[in-house]
Symmetry: C2
């Protein structure tokens, strides 16, 4: 039920096939983020047509609204949302450390204040596993302690070591839940350690000593550190990551981050930037960003991105998209979000083809040079 | 290019086929309103799948943004929006009398203040025809003087008589534009006269004396008068309307208004209520309204309307739709708008079937009784 086949590689870049209970994911792969049980503004059919094969669900948001009991009683996250393909849920850790009001952090877990109704709630490794089991995702993430970006060595070490202890508790509760409920889901650990290479190595060693995981995530990056630092951390980890397991770089990224991550051995990505930028009228193209509201698009009859095969670019003109944003018509936000998601998915698809056929490295260099020009 | 075939009738209710340059419209028919070159929040494909065969465009809104010159230079409203089927445009009259700041009204036309940028603009019968020709709709509407709802006999008479004089100017400019530009569009006149039956009759007689129209609209109803008054006006007009021409009741309506209008010989309807209610989470069903935000829907796994064949009701649960509204996810507004539009279109489709097969009158009475229960 949880298999990963490495099909090809070029340098650190990889092409693989990940099999999950709800379907097959060809890697490298970008996963759109379904914050509240929907990828912002989009219909599940639009995601499928954009080529999405797996999406992410946010445990923190779904716990607050509608609550995991509601999702469970309506058949789990797949039936609730009608998304038929694989789902990965995060642990809620990122949101309680960034979005919610953090009230107390100790060995047991995190006491936080809901950003919706101000209620005080406790999230622990065990609770996170219980919520994710109720949601019924294919892949659950271990509950981790996420320190602020670029924390000192001491603070990053403390958080990394706690994350290992919490991983044991996540692992044990997850195993119980699978045995009790028969839910078909797997658990992935998260490498922490901030920007400190020795801590990242120690985190990975601790993870590998604690289980035989079906996948491994790298967390705590893309949280404010310079991009070369993120790339250095990935390069330091890559030779030590098991080759036969998928690697997921959490919360990344932008188009150039995908290329850079794939070149450093990453298989899976997620990020809200595609839809967030889409809602704000910022579209990615092979030649860089286009601001859809821009007045120079007013009479432009061409597509947003001439190279793109998405259902926005193959149908609607830049002039029409601009008009929709000017009159604040929601369809515009939707159409640009569809384009941005397809843009990231297609980068991953193209990288995969190049890794398999050979020539990824040259293609990646050309792609980045054109994008940044 | 502009044909209307009356296929069947039962009492005043009719079933017909209207042929327009961009396609065929089976009547009775509900036309969704594409205010700014898009039916709020919806994709043209969603409208087609909901069974829409003709939509409405707002001349006032499109004149202000993006401007008719932009639409023309991007290929006209069909190419601009990618909607392939017929489009009817209103004259802008309703908006300048209701939405814009009315500055001056005289025989020439209306000086108004744009509600977007405060600029002062002049709309006349000739300008309205020129804008609609630039938009390239299948059906254009004559520029009319719309008096306030339930105006006195004197005021309603003055507006009705001016509307006849403006009709001559609309007709003449429209004929010139068709000859000059070759645009494939027809012009429909609008019966005015407020709530006064004698004025309505006089308006219709004046219209019929001024041309051989391919369709006739009834305006100035559903603007605050009691529903029985609207129905009385329709009943007074119906025997005098040419049987072989389609009749369009402007700005109507709600589900029960459609049934009542069809029973009184109306063929075409338009109204923003379907999408406006959809955006606010109010859904029509055969048993009346459902408030989608309602907490009693929280755990409801059933469809919004068990009798409905729309792509919302056949796929998503009430519990999920409620959740989308609670978290303010745009997909919820879209899904309920799709349902409401399909609901009105299906009423018209069902009425048509009953008129053709017989039994419309009994069906309509049962439908209204159930809806109002």
């Amino acid at each position: 039920m949880y298999q990963f086949e490495l099909e090809a590689s070029e340098g650190a870049a990889r092409a693989g096939t990940l099999t999950l209970p709800h379907g097959i994911v060809k890697t490298p792969c970008f996963m759109p983020v379904g914050t509240h049980g929907a990828v912002r503004g989009l219909h599940p059919d639009e995601l499928e047509r954009a080529g999405a094969t797996i999406i992410l669900g946010n445990t923190y948001h779904l716990h607050l609204r509608p609550g995991e009991d509601v999702v469970r009683s309506l058949g789990g996250l797949h039936r609730f949302t009608t998304w038929r393909r694989p789902i990965l849920t995060d642990s809620g850790g990122f949101q309680v450390f960034s979005l919610a009001g953090l009230r107390r952090l100790d060995e047991e877990g995190v006491v936080f204040t809901s950003h919706i109704d101000g209620s005080t709630r406790l999230l622990t490794p065990e609770r996170s596993m219980e919520i994710q089991a109720a949601l019924g995702s294919d892949v659950t993430m271990a509950f981790d302690h996420l320190p602020p970006g670029q924390s000192s060595h001491e603070h990053a070490r403390e958080a990394m070591e706690r994350t290992l202890r919490w991983l044991e508790r996540s692992r044990d509760r997850h195993a119980e839940l699978v045995a009790e409920t028969g839910v078909a889901q797997t658990l992935w650990p998260i490498v922490q350690g901030g920007v400190h290479d020795d801590l990242r190595r120690a985190s990975l060693e601790g993870i590998l000593a604690r289980g035989d995981w079906t996948g491994i995530a790298v967390g705590g990056l893309s949280v404010g550190e310079p991009k070369p630092v993120m790339q250095r951390v990935l390069e330091g980890l890559e030779p030590h990551l098991p080759k036969d397991r998928p690697r997921y770089l959490m919360g990344v990224g932008f188009p150039d981050d995908l290329i850079a991550g794939i070149a450093r051995g990453v298989d899976l990505f997620d990020c809200v930037a595609a839809t967030r930028n889409g809602r704000h009228g910022s579209a990615w193209t092979a030649d860089g960003k286009v601001q859809v509201r821009g007045s120079r698009l007013k009479l432009d009859d061409g597509p947003l991105d001439p190279d793109c095969d998405c259902e926005t670019c193959t149908r609607f003109s830049r002039g029409y998209l601009r008009h929709l944003f000017v009159v604040e018509e929601q369809l515009g936000q939707r159409l640009v979000s569809i384009h941005n998601i397809r843009f990231l998915i297609r980068i991953a698809e193209q990288a995969r083809e190049r890794v398999i056929s050979g020539g990824f490295t040259g293609w990646a260099a050309e792609w980045l040079a054109r994008y940044h020009q």
